[in-house]
């Protein structure tokens, strides 16, 4: 399997549709239960390059405990996690490493860009020759958390935003069927 090619799945809801083109209530219930389960047990990858990693460690520890939201274990291997929190500056030398880690994560996978450096290069936007100006030039980002560094409460707010986004997503459900050509 070529790890560099992006995996584009066929939409799985098609096989469950009925005569009107929509999916029935069993599929919608299964979908919402799956979303609820996924959002309440996201396991992040331990990936911190610079100063924001220290605020990430503060969020892990006992005062701002994040395991009460389901982020129980921080895995070291990307094959076993489904969330990558990019905390810190990404340079041109580190960018291929980040892309390879992202490719190794199994689907469905989510990305949070934490801190000003990951959103747009931050204080290093002008006058720096080796900083990638924003991690969304490399991998697709779901939630942006501003701050330099963002407080632990801000990180928890970002994670709860991601949980809401997952709960409202629709993987198998079709609500507006596409019009066929001969209709």
């Amino acid at each position: 399997m070529d790890v560099n090619k992006d995996f584009i799945p066929d939409f799985p809801g098609d096989i469950y549709k009925d005569d009107t083109g929509k999916t029935n209530f069993i599929v919608t219930s299964v979908d919402s239960i799956a979303n609820w389960a996924r959002s309440n047990s996201l396991w992040p990858l331990s990936f911190g390059t610079s100063c924001c990693a220290i605020e990430l460690m503060s969020t892990v520890s006992a005062k701002y405990d994040w395991s009460r939201f389901g982020f129980e274990v921080m895995r070291a291997s990307p094959r076993q996690c489904d969330l990558i929190i990019v905390a810190g500056t990404i340079t041109y030398k580190m960018a291929p490493v980040l892309k390879r880690l992202y490719n190794q994560m199994p689907e469905p996978r989510y990305v949070i860009a934490m801190g000003a450096c990951a959103i747009s290069g931050g204080p290093f936007f002008y006058n720096s020759y080796s900083v990638v100006k924003g991690v969304d030039n490399i991998i697709p980002v779901d939630v942006y958390i501003p701050g330099c560094p963002p407080r632990p409460e801000a990180l928890i707010h970002g994670m709860m935003t991601l949980q809401n986004k997952i709960k409202n997503s629709k993987a198998y459900v079709i609500e507006n069927p596409k019009k066929e050509e001969n209709e």
């Binding site: 005062k63 030398k93 900083v131 330099c148 560094p149």
Partner: protein, 374 residues
């Protein structure tokens, strides 16, 4: 593998190269160590840097002096106050500014509190590298209390920019002294707990004693400073020999141990935490009244020449070398980082040892990688 032909056992194995990092579960940062291994014994070690090289020295050539101080907090982010202090002292030296007494006392208190937080985090992550997870949570308990004081007085928990040329940015809150007195009582209690938990623990003593021996001549030749050098018998505390900001009027001991191994480096840092508490206690009872900042012009211009200022951060000696051509931007600003020379000592002390010993040595040398790469 069957040894049918009586080949000597060493020729049956072969060496292979393993990359430790740049993404790994320890908390030091993005360092890649290319280790050539024979079984579990390390034959050669090559550090590859540059994964967090942000070009700070080139950036200072296009920013003014006040903006460059903002960047120094992000280099060794665990000693952010002390980095700002180094840059401010270099600028004050060039412009011949006299800092008021109140500002000097506040600067020393903030710097010593910062040293306490840095050593607490070192203690937690050192124990975590060796396998124990509980000390990590215990260390952050104390660290969060000190960060509450920082946040109330300066506005930020990690990258403060509070110490500026001329003094400090704002005055401290009225309950500064009383909140620190309460905090120090708790920290002293917890330090006794830590001594029982890790220092008196047989497993940690066996993991650290006799591991990673750095002889005195090698430490001098490699340019090591800070706790790494003081654990090899070299007396080199910048606060004693080149004092700044009023350290010469305070009474504190310089901790020098002759052990040369990881256990000595561990003990030096634990004793330094107690000395930091002693320094804060001398100052907190009578902070002098007065101004908190001397008057400084809006645009800072240093006279032509070269200036060098050294301070003692939690990791060693930080040097700021400014070459000025009279304009409002520095011609060249170089930061002599403490972890850069300490990294050079990693290879000679781990060649021939096992991977577990490499982790113990790296945990006690206490590297912060953005300080190395700048």
């Amino acid at each position: 593998m069957e040894n049918n032909n009586n080949i000597p056992i060493d020729d049956l194995t072969e060496e292979f190269v393993v990359n430790i990092g740049p993404q790994h579960p320890s908390t030091h940062g993005v360092l890649r160590l290319q280790a050539t291994l024979d079984g579990e014994t390390i034959k050669d070690l090559l550090p590859v840097l540059g994964y967090i090289h942000r070009g700070i020295e080139k950036m200072t050539e296009s920013l003014g002096y006040k903006q460059s101080i903002y960047l120094t907090s992000r280099m060794d982010y665990l000693s952010a106050h002390i980095n700002n202090q180094a840059c401010s002292l270099a600028i004050e030296k060039g412009m011949q500014i006299e800092v008021p007494e109140r500002a000097k006392a506040i600067r020393i208190i903030m710097a010593e509190l910062q040293r306490l937080t840095s050593h607490e985090l070192w203690w937690g992550s050192c124990a975590m590298d060796l396998g124990a997870v509980t000390p990590f949570f215990l260390a952050f308990r104390d660290r969060e209390r000190i960060l509450d004081i920082f946040e109330g007085n300066t506005g930020n928990r990690l990258t403060m920019n509070y110490i500026t040329p001329g003094g400090v940015m704002f005055d401290v809150l009225p309950n500064f002294a009383s909140s620190i007195k309460e905090l120090l009582v708790k920290v002293k209690e917890h330090l006794k707990e830590y001594e029982e938990l890790i220092t008196g623990n047989v497993i940690f003593q066996h993991r650290l004693k006799g591991v990673g021996i750095l002889p005195r001549e090698l430490a001098i030749s490699m340019g090591c400073t800070g706790p790494v050098a003081r654990a090899s018998g070299i007396s080199c505390d910048v606060r004693k020999y080149h004092p700044y900001d009023g350290y010469d009027k305070l009474d504190f001991k310089e901790i020098v141990i002759d052990g040369c191994d990881s256990w000595a480096r561990y003990k030096v840092r634990m004793e330094e935490m107690k000395q930091s508490i002693h320094i804060i206690e001398q100052l907190i009872h009578n902070i002098p009244e007065g101004e908190f900042r001397a008057k400084v012009k809006g645009v800072i211009k240093l006279p032509v020449g070269e200036y060098y200022q050294r301070v003692e951060t939690a990791r060693g000696e930080l040097g700021v070398y400014i070459v000025s051509d009279g304009g409002n931007k520095p011609y060249r600003m170089k930061f002599r980082a403490a972890s850069f020379s300490n990294l050079g000592a990693l290879k000679p002390i781990t060649v021939g040892a096992k991977i577990g010993d490499l982790m113990a040595s790296m945990a006690t040398i206490d590297l912060v990688i953005p300080d190395i790469d700048r």
